[in-house]
């Protein structure tokens, strides 16, 4: 299988200057990027740190697939994405997307497409650590406000212990 390596996963701080340099292209009239950063609160709870867990092989293969989709769908020249794994502090960059295009419209649109797909499709999990000492994996199990169309009347959620239920509610959706 050809490895395009447009997607990467790293345990150290994202080196955005180097990532961006790989996109240098004299034809590019526009460069759009997105940086997702660790913020200090989520769903009303004060966050002090994050831990990301990834399955790197599928992150890279599926991330490359997403970028290939963007290259086919938008009039862009190239794109890259890199995601952190491990422990992150407030303000650190967790994910970066960079796109070059002849014109800005396609660069913005492709950048948006890639980050949205990355958040939904890649095997990446985020554990939030709260100022109050609690912690929890970010997902929407048992989150009534975000009932999933594929999971009506989640009977199993009713079986959660009180502690699990509190944790699950507290972490809910991130964005």
């Amino acid at each position: 299988m050809e490895q395009t390596a447009r997607m990467s996963v790293t345990a150290s701080a994202l080196d955005i200057a180097t990532l961006q340099a790989a996109l240098d292209d004299a034809r590019a009239g526009g460069y759009a990027s997105f940086e997702g950063r660790v913020r200090d609160r989520n769903e009303g709870r004060e966050v002090c740190a994050l831990h990301y867990e990834v399955h790197a092989p599928i992150c890279i293969s599926e991330g490359d697939r997403i970028i290939a989709e963007a290259l086919a769908r938008f009039d862009i020249l190239d794109a890259r994405c890199s995601h952190r794994t491990g422990d992150l502090e407030l303000g650190e960059v967790a994910v970066w997307v960079g796109v070059t295009a002849r014109h800005r419209d396609a660069a913005f649109a492709a950048c948006r497409y890639i980050i949205d797909e990355v958040k939904h499709r890649l095997p990446i999990w985020k554990k939030e650590f709260y100022v109050d000492g609690d912690s929890g994996w970010v997902n929407c199990a048992g989150c009534a406000g975000h009932a999933h169309p594929g999971a009506p009347g989640d009977a199993r959620v009713a079986g959660l212990s009180a502690g699990q239920d509190r944790r699950v509610r507290g972490v809910a959706h991130s964005r």
Binding site: V118, W125, C140
Partner: protein, 84 residues
Amino acid sequence: MSAAVKAVTAEYFAVFREQAGTDRETVETAAETPAALYQELAARHGFAEHAERCKVAVNDTLSDWHSPLAEGDRVLFFPPVAGG
């Protein structure tokens, strides 16, 4: 229907790993698909997620929940993701 028992490796990530108390285990199962295996393991470990909100990979390739399982497969169970 006589379902043959096979040995597969189940691998867990994030909340599944914490709930199972291990990142992988060998499972003797008559399950013919990842979906059926997930039902068995969810009952054993108390996984609260519906399979349709999760993803499954077989031998490091994203897979359909209803693909056939073979002896020796590594079945990776991914809880709902939260990248970015």
